[in-house]
Symmetry: C2
Subunit: 494 residues, 2 copies
C-alpha cells in the first residue's frame, strides 16, 4: 500500500469518487467541526486504496482458484464451440461439475460376474451384478417388491393394453410402386459381401421385406419357389436371376400369405404409465430408484418416456432388436424433436439406457436374450449361419450368448449407446441387440423404463431447457405441453 | 447501502481503524482547511461499510464456489476408513481431487478401433487407437522418434545386456525331495476338471514342471513314454497309472534332456535404464509422455521400475505370460515390499500398466500376441486344445486373437489389472496374457515401461510417502535409498 504522503495538491478527480447524489447531500451538512478535515481526507484515501487493492486481490484469487478449473465460460450452457480432442482428466472432472446437464456418468462393469452394492432405498442394500460388458449390462435382484410388481400389472390392466404390433397393412404395393431405383442397384445394395450373388442371409439382414412380418430362411426359400426366383434351387440369386424377377410377384405372394400374430416381429400387448410429478407414489419411487441406479441427471430422467408395461401371453415373443436406432447426423430423436422445428429425414427413439423390470415369474420360456453379448467382434451377417438366425427368439434363443430368466422384482439395465469418450452419448452399441424369447407356458409381464438422451448434446440441452421453461410457465400452454401428454397417444413400437 | 445519517456522536472505536503510525503522522498535518470534515467522515463510513460488505460477499462467494467442491479434509492423506459400497458420482469426483495419490484414472476404450487424440508433446497430436477392451489395450504410433529409438538401443548397449533367463539349474531334485504331499493329492491338484484322469493340458497349465523350460504336449508325451507313465498310450493318466509312477524318474529324464535357449520360457537379453531425476533428457521426456498418456499420478509413475530394454535375436521369443501375478491378500508387491517389513509368503511384480515401445522394425516375426484378447470368457484350459497351446509363441502365434506387428516408434499400452470400481487397482485381468512371437529374421528391440501400483492401497500410499520422505532427506541415507538403486541389481523376470 502506498503512503498517501505528506499533503501536496489534491488531484481534482478524487472528488469525483463520491456519487453526485451523495455529494449534494453532503453539501448540506454543517462544515467544519472538531475533527481535522485534512486527516479525514487522508483516511478516505487510505480506505479507497485499501479497498481497491483488496477487491482486485480477491478478484484475482477467485479467478485463479476457480477460473482455471471452469473451462471456457461458454461451456456452461449450450456450447457450440468444438470440443478438445481428448479431455485431460481434470477437464473431465470439470465437465462433471459444470452442472447436471453436461456429463453423463456410466457405471463401471469391471468384469462379467462383478458385484457392487448400492443403497437404492433407505436401509436396503441392493446388489448390482455385471452380466456383460458388450453391452454394459447389469442385473439387480429385488429392485421391485412383489407388491410393487402386482400394482404395476394392476395399473396397466386398469389403463388397458393394446397390441404392440398390428398385422401388416397393404402399404407394400405403393412402396414398391414408388421405388425409383433400378434392379441392379437394389441387388448391389443387398449384396453385402459384394460377391455378385444374393445369399439368403443377405436378404434377411437387409430387408424390411416382411413389412412387419418376421422372415425366416424357410420363408425366403418358399417365396423363391413360389415366384420361381431361384431356378437352380441353390438358395442363392445371381444378378441375372434377380433381374428376371418381377418384384410385384413377391408382393402378391406375401399379400396372399396368411399371417398370424406369431409371424410378426413382436407379439405382445403394452401400455404406458405416467411417472412424472403427481404420479402414483410407487411409480415416483421407481423413478427415484432408477435415478439413483443410473446416476443420470434428474432432468434427463424426468424428461424421459413413461413406464411401458408389456404383457406376453403364451406364444408371445419379441425377435431380437435394438431399442435405439443408429446415430447419423441427419437422424432426429423422437423426444427432442418435440422442441426442435427441424424436419429430419430419419427419426428414431434415442434410448440411452433401458431398465427392464420382470413383474412376474414366467412358467415357461420368456427369457430375455442377448444373442451376441460379449462377442469378440460384431458382424451383422454372422448372426445368421446355416439357416440359424440368432435373432429369432421363437426358434433359436438357446443358441445365443446370454439369456436372462425372468424373476419377479429383478431389474436388468443396459446402455444402448457407447460413451463418446467425453462424457456424452456416442455410437449405438451394436452388441445391445436383444429380444424376448417365446413364452411357452403362462403369461409374462415386464416393464421398461427408457432414459432418453439425444446423441446431439446441444439438442438434448435445448430440449431440457425448453421442458424446464414449460414446467415453470404457470399458464395454459403448460398443461398441453408435458412429456406425458406428448407420449399419451404414442403407438410407436421399436 | 445504508446512509450513515446526519451526524450524531462519533463512536470512539472508529478512530482505532487508522493504524497507530499513521495516526501520529496525521497528527502532524495542518488541521482545518476548505474541505468539510463532517462530510469526509461520512465518506469514510460509507467506504468502511462498502469495503466490509464487499469483502464478506467475496469471501462467501469464494467459499461457495470452492469450498463445496473440496471434499472432507480428512481424506487428503492415508485413509483407513472403510469405503462406501458404491461411490456416488460426486463422491468419485471428490476422490479424484483429494490428491494425486488416491485415484487412478483409466483411459476409456469405448470400442475396438476407437481413435482419440492427445497432445503428448507440444504442438504434436498423437492418435490413440483402441486395440482391445479385454485387456484395455491401446496403440500410439510415433510415440518415439526414430532418433529416440536409436538412442535407447545405444544406451542399452553401452550399459550391457544380460540373458533374460538362464538355463535351469538342478534345483528340481531337492524340490521333489522336500515335497511333503501324497501322490493322490498331487493328482487331485492337477486334475482341473476333476474327471479322475490327467489330460495333457491339465499337466501343462498347472505345472512349474519344466523348471524354466517350456513344456509342449509333445514333450509331455515323450516324457510319458520315456518313463513308461502311460502304458495304454492314450495321453491320459489315470490315478492308478499316476500312483505307479516314480516322480524321480521324471526328474532324471528332464535332467538328461539337452536344453537350449529356445526351449526356455523366454529367450532374450535385457537391461534397465534409469529414468528418475537427473536421467538422460530423452529418458525423462519419455517418462513425461507416459505420465501424460496414462494420466496416472506423478509419484506413482516416478516411483516405478526403470525402463527395461530388451533384445530378441533371430530365434528369440517370449511365451505368453502375465506381467503381474494374481492378487491374494497374502501377496506382496516387489516394489512396496521395499518399505514394509512384512514377510509375505508370495511376492510378485505389481505392474498396473505396461507401456511397450517398439525400437526397430523387425525383418521377420517378433509380433506381440494377445492370444485371448476380447474372448467372451476366460478359461485357462481352453488355451490348450488338440495339441495347440495358444501360449506357445514359437508355434502358434498365428492362432491368437490379436497380433501387433512391431513398428519403430510405436507404443502399445495396456492395463494388467482391472479397476476395483472405486478408482483403484482390482483383480488381475487374465485377458492381459501376452507374449513375444518368434523372431524369424533379424533382431527385435523393444523397451518396457511398467507402472507399479500395489492393489493394496494403504501399502502403495505408505510406499509413496516413504519414498517422498527419503527424497526430501538431504543426508547419506537418501543416496543409498532410491528406487533406482533398489532396482539396480534386479534380475527378476516375469
Amino acid at each position: 500500500m502506498e503512503d498517501p504522503g505528506n499533503g501536496g495538491p489534491l488531484p481534482p478527480h478524487h472528488d469525483e469518487d463520491t456519487p453526485p447524489g451523495t455529494r449534494d447531500r453532503l453539501a448540506g451538512l454543517p462544515k467544519g467541526g472538531g475533527v481535522c478535515s485534512r486527516s479525514y481526507f487522508v483516511v478516505v484515501m487510505v480506505f479507497v486504496h485499501v479497498y481497491i487493492i483488496n477487491v482486485i486481490a480477491l478478484l484475482f484469487y477467485v479467478y485463479y482458484t476457480n477460473g482455471s478449473q471452469q473451462g471456457d465460460p461458454g461451456a456452461n450452457g449450450v456450447s457450440t464451440s468444438p470440443e478438445p480432442p481428448v479431455p485431460e482428466p481434470r477437464a473431465r472432472i470439470q465437465r462433471e461439475e459444470e452442472g447436471p446437464h453436461s456429463y453423463l456418468p456410466r457405471l463401471e462393469g469391471i468384469r462379467v460376474g462383478h458385484r457392487q452394492k448400492l443403497e437404492l432405498v433407505q436401509n436396503k442394500i441392493h446388489e448390482i451384478k455385471t452380466l456383460s460388458l458388450k453391452p454394459l449390462l447389469f442385473e439387480i435382484p429385488n429392485f421391485l417388491t412383489v407388491e410393487e410388481c402386482k400394482l404395476l400389472i394392476h395399473l396397466a390392466q386398469l389403463k388397458g393394453l393394446q397390441a404392440s404390433q398390428i398385422l401388416p397393412v397393404d402399404g407394400y404395393k405403393e412402396a414398391m410402386d414408388n421405388l425409383e431405383i433400378s434392379k441392379a442397384d437394389i441387388f448391389n445394395l443387398l449384396d453385402h459381401n459384394q460377391d455378385g450373388q444374393l445369399q439368403i442371409k443377405e436378404v434377411l439382414t437387409h430387408s424390411r421385406l416382411g413389412n412387419g412380418r418376421w422372415m425366416t430362411p424357410e420363408n425366403i426359400r418358399e417365396m423363391y419357389s413360389a415366384v420361381k426366383a431361384d431356378p437352380d434351387g441353390n438358395g442363392v440369386l445371381s444378378l441375372e436371376e434377380f433381374k428376371k424377377l418381377n418384384l410385384r410377384d413377391f408382393h402378391k405372394y406375401l399379400g396372399n400369405q396368411e399371417i398370424t400374430m406369431s409371424d410378426l416381429v413382436r407379439n405382445s400387448q403394452h401400455t404406458w404409465l405416467y411417472q412424472g410429478e403427481g404420479a402414483h407414489h410407487v411409480l415416483r419411487s421407481i423413478r427415484q430408484r432408477v435415478k439413483k441406479l443410473t446416476r443420470l441427471p434428474v432432468d434427463v430422467v424426468e424428461n424421459s418416456e413413461p413406464l411401458q408395461v408389456v404383457r406376453y401371453d403364451t406364444g408371445g415373443h419379441y425377435h431380437a432388436h435394438m431399442d435405439s436406432g443408429p446415430v447419423f447426423p441427419e437422424t432426429a430423436c423422437a423426444h427432442t424433436k418435440l422442441t426442435t422445428n427441424e424436419t429430419a429425414p430419419f427419426e428414431t427413439s434415442c434410448r440411452y439406457v433401458t431398465v427392464l423390470f420382470y413383474l412376474n415369474n414366467v412358467t415357461g420360456g420368456g427369457e430375455t436374450t442377448f444373442p451376441i453379448a460379449d462377442n469378440r467382434t460384431y458382424e451383422e451377417l454372422a448372426l445368421i449361419q446355416n439357416d440359424v438366425d440368432l435373432r429369432d427368439t421363437r426358434k433359436h434363443c438357446d443358441k445365443g450368448n446370454l439369456r436372462i430368466k425372468p424373476r419377479q422384482g429383478t431389474a436388468v439395465f443396459w446402455y444402448n449407446y457407447l460413451s463418446n469418450g467425453q462424457g456424452w452419448v456416442g455410437d449405438v452399441d451394436e452388441f445391445a441387440l436383444h429380444g424376448g424369447c417365446l413364452v411357452t407356458e403362462g403369461t409374462k409381464w415386464i416393464a421398461n423404463n427408457w432414459i432418453n438422451v439425444d446423441p446431439n448434446k446441444q439438442r438434448q440441452l435445448w430440449f431440457q431447457q425448453e421442458m424446464a421453461r414449460y414446467a415453470r410457465d404457470d399458464n395454459e400452454t403448460q398443461k398441453d405441453w408435458t412429456v406425458d401428454k406428448s407420449y399419451k397417444d404414442l403407438h410407436i413400437d421399436l
